[in-house]
């Protein structure tokens, strides 16, 4: 039999996360700090709305773009938080998670050989999605000394004549880094100069701990060259509902809708009804969860300080990204040893790009009690390592 597989799919490496997942799954009663989703269940009133939608028999397709009332709520939300207007009729598309928007956005934008700038460490799907559709990935290795923010110099040096798209992954998974307004202004200038299009993945936008999140779409002339991606997974603890959305200029949303229409049809109907409720009445829940994450974040930063473990203070998402270079091990070695000796799982930074080498992603989507136990074990572990050295 011939090899029926495409070259491209064979060239994609399986996610480093997957590899680590397999090791952790085999270990009994390990504490995992490796989860990239909220520990909260979806707030009850949102679930209730989903149940109600089932009862009413809302079991059919919606329009390809998503329920109009939902797109209207999304439009209101962006207007309220960023002061930018998107027409719900033709500038907003409801997708199956933010992930789908990343995929079809890239597919709608890229020709063979177009260059996509991807700052790393960052979420695992940008590079493979871009590669599958013919994009050529150019990575920027973000630095801890810049708190993993993207600097104008770094951006400038990655740009070539073939650059078409910049992925802007903030608030960032796995580093917890954010980009503040002044940071964005500096890179926006270069983006416009070089006529680049931005895919801004803002799925963690509600989880920032140093003022409100500022989107690049709110800067002068950036709305026209940006695809804003967001969703319900992180802000409303709705990961399993698989619901996201994107907002962009009509010429792009129109083309993306074609791909979405043929590949997906529409996002899950029940989830869409629940999401209307989330946007209408979910603000208190978001505030409660944010405050809770923030307390855990402060706890971890304080613990690291006491242990003498180097870590910049992250102001976004629910991850901390401590540096483990002092122990002379790779991230993977450290994570594996930590798991074997102390039964705590934290994801090696390298799962999110080569520049994650020397770092560990620790998720604080866990109860304080659990984090406390895990941190006691981490302290014991690094104490042992330091003594050995």
């Amino acid at each position: 039999m011939r090899n029926f597989l495409s070259d491209r799919v064979q060239n994609i490496k399986p996610s480093g996360i997957r590899k680590f997942f397999d090791i952790v799954s085999e270990m009994k009663d390990a504490i995992s700090l490796g989860v990239g989703e909220p520990d909260f269940e979806t707030p009850w009133h949102i679930r209730d709305e989903g149940i109600y939608a089932f009862e009413k028999g809302k079991t059919f397709y919606t329009s390809n773009s998503g329920l109009l009332p939902l797109r209207q709520e999304i439009s209101n939300y962006i207007q309220k938080t960023q002061g930018v207007n998107y027409n719900p009729k033709n500038e907003i598309l409801v997708t199956v998670g933010g992930s789908e928007a990343i995929d079809i956005g890239l597919r709608a934008l890229l020709n063979n050989g177009d260059e996509v700038i991807i700052p790393q460490p960052s979420y695992v799907s940008y590079a493979p999605c871009s590669y599958l559709t013919g994009g050529k990935n150019v990575f920027i290795n973000l630095k801890a000394e810049n708190e993993f923010r993207l600097t104008p110099e770094e951006l400038e040096s990655a740009i070539t004549g073939k650059t078409k798209v910049l992925i802007l992954p903030y608030p960032n998974n796995p580093t917890g880094a954010i980009m503040e307004k002044s940071d964005l202004e500096r890179i926006a200038k270069i983006i416009k100069e070089h006529d680049i299009f931005v895919i801004s993945d803002e799925i963690y936008s509600e989880l920032t701990y140093k003022g409100k999140h500022v989107s690049i779409i709110s800067l002068n002339d950036m709305r026209e060259r940006t695809l804003l991606i967001n969703g319900f997974s992180k802000s409303y603890a709705m990961t399993g509902w698989r619901l996201g959305y994107c907002c962009g200029p009509e010429w792009l949303i129109k083309q993306m809708t074609k791909i979405h229409q043929y590949a997906i049809m529409c996002a899950p109907t029940i989830s869409q009804y629940a999401a209307v409720e989330a946007l209408k009445n979910g603000e208190d829940d978001v505030n409660m969860m944010r405050e809770s994450y923030n307390q855990r974040r402060r706890f971890l930063i304080d613990v690291f300080k006491k242990m003498g473990l180097e870590c910049f203070e992250p102001y976004g998402a629910f991850y901390v990204f401590p540096c483990i270079k002092e122990f002379g091990m790779t991230s993977e070695e450290f994570a594996t040893k930590f798991l074997q000796e102390e039964k705590v799982a934290a994801v090696p930074g390298t799962a999110f790009g080569d520049s994650g080498e020397g770092y560990l992603r620790i998720s604080y989507a866990y109860s304080l009690e659990k984090l406390q136990i895990a941190m006691e074990r981490l302290e014991r572990f690094i104490h042992k390592l330091r003594v050995r050295v």
Partner: protein, 160 residues
Amino acid sequence: MREQLLSIIEKNSRIGISELAVLLGKEEIEIANEIKKLEEEHVICGYHTLIDWEKTSIEKVSAIIEVRVTLQRGQGFDKIAQRIYNYPEVKSVYLISGGFDLMVTLEEKSLKEIAAFVSDKLSTLDNVLSTGTHFVLKRYKVHGTILDEVNEDTREVVTP
């Protein structure tokens, strides 16, 4: 900070000052002063422990009693409520809008004792017109805490 401080210690009154300071990003002295103030203002009225007595061998029976009262000149609800809440077996007393006036919760060792309290003490008060006693069969959620909740993490162990 007040609201956040209260919502933490409402759930966990054993948490220490230094831990609170870390969680809220404040100095320990600020936290200590705030707690002192809250105690003085009687915003914090006590530090109790939530116990599921059913899991012990100690017998306890609870009842919720609806009480209808008549008011007399110069004597508002407060006066009658006081007559009732002074009994040590009374756990709580609320003034209620709607079909009756006061809601009284009671905890005793047996059904008999509750019945005795209602017939001998509560019903005989001058202002009490009638009572309706509801015995508690099972407590599912108390003080915002689900008593038999199983907190199992059903998430995948590692996800991107």
